[in-house]
């Protein structure tokens, strides 16, 4: 019954297929990057950067409003908000991850500061230059993704596909270096690995994933995509490779299940995926505990 309904949606509507493709790819990328981010104690960077992206979206909406009916306004309208959001978010990611240990304001404080700051400024701007009658509706849909994954255009899907594949390729090619830098940054630096450059790479890729993921789950729930698969995998597996592979597989499964459930039952896509991730985390914790007890 449910399967038939789902099958008819998938074959009948292009937007459902788009949502599945984009959802799976983003979930895959987020889980891959999630493993080093969680281990580097940067679990909250997803949260912080997504709020930055929210602020950047507000700024771009305001710019759109101010320059309406000018040639600059037309230009902004054609390229969309993506480039500006990507630029600002990447900038903040670099700032947060690069300064790392030597910063005057330490990691978690810096993330928290930028996170709430961007959220506040974004909401303020949206209120001051409101573009529609329903500001709180707009804010809510940006924060929780609401339905945006179901309204993707063909062009946005292609952009997502290309960027996601690039992220996966980068991750595979630099896998051993990411491991070295994550496990022991000082050793990696001392043996001539350019740890700064790889931290920068991780920061940029993280920013790209977060901007992409805003379409899927909205800015409040992105952290879930980044941390849940990694944490679930760490309950059961004990090597970096197995954790990474399992996190990626689990994340893809959860995204598929979440999108399917959301479409069939008409629930919000983002929060459904995260709910499935939470259930999976519970199951993995249980499995890890049982397995550990059996082995001992």
């Amino acid at each position: 019954m449910i399967w038939e309904k789902l099958a008819s949606y998938v074959t009948g509507y292009a937007f459902v297929r788009y949502a599945l493709v984009v959802g799976v790819l983003i979930a895959l990328c987020a889980a891959l990057l999630g493993v080093p981010l969680v281990l580097k104690r940067f679990s909250f960077i997803g949260d912080g950067l997504s709020h930055v992206a929210f602020g950047a979206m507000a700024i771009s909406a305001v710019l759109d409003q101010i320059f309406k009916n000018t040639s600059l306004g037309d230009f902004l309208h054609t390229v969309g908000e993506m480039p500006l959001v990507l630029l600002v978010t990447t900038g903040c990611a670099v700032l947060l991850l690069r300064t790392g240990q030597n910063a005057k304001i330490k990691g978690d404080a810096a993330v928290a500061m930028i996170s709430v700051g961007a959220l506040a400024v974004g909401y303020l701007l949206m209120n001051l230059f409101s573009t529609s009658a329903n500001v709180s509706g707009d804010v809510c849909s940006t924060l929780f993704g609401a339905t945006s994954i179901l309204t993707l255009t063909g062009w946005e899907v292609w952009l997502c596909v290309v960027l996601s594949l690039a992220v996966v390729a980068i991750f595979v090619l630099f896998y051993h270096k990411i491991f070295a830098v994550t496990f022991d940054e000082n050793f990696a630096r001392a043996t001539g690995l350019r740890a700064g450059a790889y931290n920068l790479l991780i920061a940029v890729v993280t920013a790209v994933i977060i901007v992409l993921a805003m379409n899927l789950v909205g800015s409040l729930l992105i952290s879930a995509l980044v941390i849940f698969p990694a944490l679930s995998a760490m309950r059961i597996f004990k090597s970096f490779l197995s954790v990474t592979v399992f996190a990626a597989a689990l994340s893809v499964l959860c995204a598929l299940a979440g999108i399917a459930l959301a479409i069939v039952y008409g629930t919000p896509v983002g929060s459904t995926i995260v709910a499935v991730d939470i259930v999976a985390f519970g199951a993995c914790t249980l499995a890890g505990t049982v397995w550990g007890a059996v082995r001992d």
Binding site: H176, K177, A180, F183, F187, A190, T191, L193, K238
Partner: protein, 235 residues
């Protein structure tokens, strides 16, 4: 032949000097032990030698064909590593990273080298085990095997026995001594007085800086203070 010469080295943070006028030299095959109280600048010296920070002034010269990237470094454990999901094999292999350059994957030779160093440390049965589940002594062996993958010539050990019990400490010193006899230069930082016994040169940091052979050190004021004025009889 000198592998490492430090001339008039001033160390510190943000241009503020912590240690001044440091002069010493390490030849191939030496065993240098760096001792001193907490806060005497041992760790700062280590970080400077590893090029993790720049000296305030003075020069560090590398000789005998030793490239600064080829130092085998045994760091102290970081909090991140305590719950890091990594197998012993993955960690040892990561010591070969400096040989890789931009090449994304390890070669057969590098894997063979990692295996050889695991054998040297007697940890081949542990290769598939998870690092965080090992005992402190086993973890040190894993990190030592990784350091050996990065070098053949010079090992830099940062407090290699801190947190280990007496028996494991003795085993660790035996292991280090064996590597030294095999021709590897060793620089060891320690606040463990017993470490002096294994070294042939001593660098004492603190209010007075001493550098020289171990015998000279034991006769010096700083050394007498350390050994309770026994002139090294205890050692």
């Amino acid at each position: 032949m000198a592998q490492l010469i430090c001339r008039d080295l001033t160390l510190g943070y943000d241009g503020r000097p912590l240690v001044q006028g440091l002069n010493f030299q390490v030849n191939a095959g030496d065993f240098l032990c760096i001792i001193g109280e907490n806060g005497s600048g041992k760790s700062t010296l280590m970080r400077t030698l590893l090029r993790l920070q720049a000296p305030v002034s003075g020069a560090i010269e590398w000789g005998d064909g030793l490239h600064p990237d080829e130092i085998g470094y045994l760091p102290q454990q970081t909090p991140i590593q305590r719950d890091f999901p990594a197998s012993v094999w993955e960690i040892i292999l990561s010591g070969c990273q400096s040989r890789c350059g931009l090449r994304p994957f390890y070669t057969k030779e590098e894997k063979a080298l990692a295996l050889e160093n695991a054998e040297k440390m007697d940890i081949t049965p542990l290769l598939r085990r998870c690092y965080r589940e090992l005992s402190g002594g086993q973890q040190q062996r894993v990190l030592l095997a990784r350091a050996l993958c990065a070098t053949r010539k010079l090992l830099l050990l940062d407090e290699p026995v801190s947190g280990l019990d007496m028996k494991v400490t003795a085993e660790m010193y035996q292991l280090i001594r064996r590597l030294h006899r095999g021709g590897t230069t060793v620089i060891m930082i320690s606040h463990d007085v017993a470490a002096v016994r294994y070294a042939d040169h001593i660098l004492h940091m603190g209010d007075t800086v001493f550098f020289g052979t171990r015998d000279a050190y034991l006769k010096s004021d700083a050394g007498k203070l350390l050994t309770g004025g026994e002139g090294g009889a205890a050692l």
